[in-house]
């Protein structure tokens, strides 16, 4: 199992119950993290979209996660 610290914003902060969540998952990719998050927090599936950012950039599903990476959940943005 691999342990990651996730920071959540906007509606995801409410769905996960806070800004920071520690999650243990089997895989080491963004896709594996997404699968685990969807299982644990099925309400995430009701969002229009959910992107995952790694170290301040949008990350594809095959990006490998490191234990010191800054990982963030990006629900649909609505700035402006």
């Amino acid at each position: 199992m691999y342990k990651y610290r996730i920071i959540a914003f906007g509606i995801t902060k409410e769905l996960l119950g806070g800004r920071e969540t520690i999650i243990e998952i089997k895989g080491q990719t963004v896709g594996a993290l997404r699968t685990a998050l969807n299982e644990r927090y099925p309400q995430l599936l009701n969002l229009r979209s959910l992107l995952i950012a790694v170290n301040n950039d949008y990350a594809d599903e095959d990006v490998l996660l490191g234990s010191s990476d800054e990982i963030a959940l990006i629900p649909p943005v609505s700035g402006g």
């Binding site: 920071i7 914003f9 906007g10 509606i11 009701n46 969002l47 229009r48 950012a53 301040n56 950039d57 963030a72 990006i74 629900p75 649909p76 943005v77 609505s78 700035g79 402006g80």
Partner: protein, 141 residues
């Protein structure tokens, strides 16, 4: 200049930052808080940003804009926190030698910021609140 701020945005100050003696055009987009959404009165908005990433994404947008248009000066300022109707939420300002470039660049920048910068707003109504665009239309109550 990129700024994410809880303080009210001073539009004139941004114009001064962007102005250039070699510019023939200075274009400013000012986004303001609307007092209604989906037919309901909006009491206020709560803006939240993932600040480090927002700055990084806006920097990318500005790199691209600087590549495409001859920008002499530019600034992007976005407000976060609690904003009431009428308040300024975002300002984009550019100066260029000629006006056409200033319009195009300004529109490109605000459209890109809205699409890519990790910034969110929650509308607060008399009878509830809602994160804007978070759920598909059909999911809304």
């Amino acid at each position: 200049m990129i700024k994410i701020t809880e303080k009210s945005i001073d539009v004139q100050k941004i114009i001064d930052t962007v102005s250039s003696l070699s510019a023939g055009a200075l274009n400013v987009f000012i986004g303001t808080v609307r007092n209604n959404a989906n037919g309901k009165n909006v009491l206020w908005l709560e803006y939240e940003a993932y600040e480090t990433m927002a700055v990084a994404q806006i920097r990318k947008i500005m790199d691209e804009a600087s590549h495409r248009w001859p920008l002499l000066g530019w600034a992007v300022s976005h407000r976060i926190g609690t904003l009431k109707p009428g308040e300024v939420s975002v300002v984009v300002a550019v100066s260029t030698p000629h006006r056409k470039d200033s319009f195009e660049a300004c529109q490109y920048i605000i459209d890109s910021v809205k699409a890519a910068a990790p910034i969110w707003k929650k509308e607060v109504f008399e009878d509830g609140e809602e994160w804007v665009s978070a759920r598909p239309e059909m999911m809304k109550a």
